[in-house]
């Protein structure tokens, strides 16, 4: 359900660009979504459909590029990908780790007319 809250923030940015650039229509929007945010594309699509009704963004195609979660161990300094939310270093087994990717919520680009 947080898809609606995030989509609303995205739409504000899109509307500003439409106004600033005097655009007619937005065809597609590319996002980079870190897995940590647990964005469900279908839910995000639905949120966008509701929010954009009657605007220049209506009917937009959303393109999602999901980024896996990677952590770095503060003790052994090795990096490993996080599966099933195991924020634990695969070498030493400790939790003294930092997330280095997978926390992105990036509005990358949009295709416009």
């Amino acid at each position: 359900m947080h898809e609606l809250a995030i989509a609303t923030e995205l739409f504000k940015q899109v509307e500003k660009i439409i106004k600033d650039e005097n655009l007619n229509r937005v065809i597609s929007i590319k996002l980079k979504t870190g897995k940590f945010h647990q964005i469900v594309p279908e839910a995000f699509d639905f949120a966008m459909e509701v929010i954009t009704k009657g605007t220049k963004v209506e009917g937009v195609k959303m393109i999602y590029n999901e980024v896996p979660i990677t952590i770095k161990c503060n003790q052994c300094h090795i990096q490993n990908e996080v599966k099933d939310f195991y924020f634990v270093c695969e070498k030493c087994g400790l939790s003294d780790v930092e997330i280095i990717s997978g926390n992105e919520l990036m509005f990358e680009s949009m295709e416009v007319e």
């Binding site: 947080h2 996002l31 919520l105 416009v112």
Partner: protein
């Protein structure tokens, strides 16, 4: 035509959160963002916490709810400054709403702000409010599977309060599973078991809070 944007989707919120953080740093005020499901006992925990600490430090409370001023009225009775934010349908507080509330406080006179978020384990986890850290309140009847189901908030919280511990024997909550899951989701989190209704375990939580406030107030400005 393609337009490159390369912006954080939540950039407006995050910029304001940064402003809040800078402003609070000027006064060395500790701010806590309390997140938990509706009915997990966040306001009840505040009702136990405030009388235990309010003579030691000056504090203020921001109450977030979709509607009503009921929570703010519960807090007002303790004589601390409180502001109610009604989000009118939004399932989370955002930095803009919190900044407006903070502007109405006399920051020279307070050392601690508790922000009680809207009851929800999902959306509040995405919105930075400029706090020093998040506290997640989970209550026993919600079940031991919640950290695995909502890993973002349990991962990002510095501390987890396991509330309604007095109900443990009446539910199928498996404490061992809860700790096992917390270990891999957020092995560094402080965990406090308590009953906000009865007061058991609240002193230990308050001691920890006071320690955090002291650390923040002693930091260089």
């Amino acid at each position: 035509m393609e337009i490159k944007v390369l912006e954080n989707i939540l950039k407006v919120n995050d910029q304001i959160a940064l402003e809040i953080r800078k402003e609070l740093k000027k006064y060395n005020i500790l701010a806590l963002n309390m997140i938990g499901s509706a009915g997990s006992g966040k306001t009840t925990l505040l009702e136990q916490t405030i009388p235990r600490i309010k003579d030691k430090i000056n504090m203020a409370v921001i109450e977030g709810d979709i509607e009503t001023t009921r929570d703010a009225e519960r807090i007002k009775k303790f004589g601390v400054e409180v502001i109610q934010i009604n989000t009118k349908g939004a399932c989370h507080l955002d930095a803009h709403l919190v900044q407006k509330a903070i502007k109405s406080f006399n920051l020279n006179k307070i050392q601690f702000i508790i922000i009680e978020n809207v009851g929800n384990l999902v959306c509040p986890a995405s919105f930075d409010l400029g706090e020093d850290f998040k506290v997640c309140v989970l209550s026993i009847p919600e079940g031991d599977d919640k950290p695995e189901k909502y890993p973002k908030i349990f991962r990002e919280s510095k501390c987890v309060v396991l509330n309604k511990i007095d109900l443990l024997s009446h539910t199928n909550f498996n404490r061992e599973n809860f700790y096992k899951d917390m270990k891999h989701i957020n092995g560094k989190a402080e965990i406090f078991e308590l009953s906000a209704l009865k007061g058991d375990g609240v002193d230990k939580w308050c001691d920890w809070l006071l320690k955090q406030i002291k650390i923040k107030s002693g930091e260089p400005k």
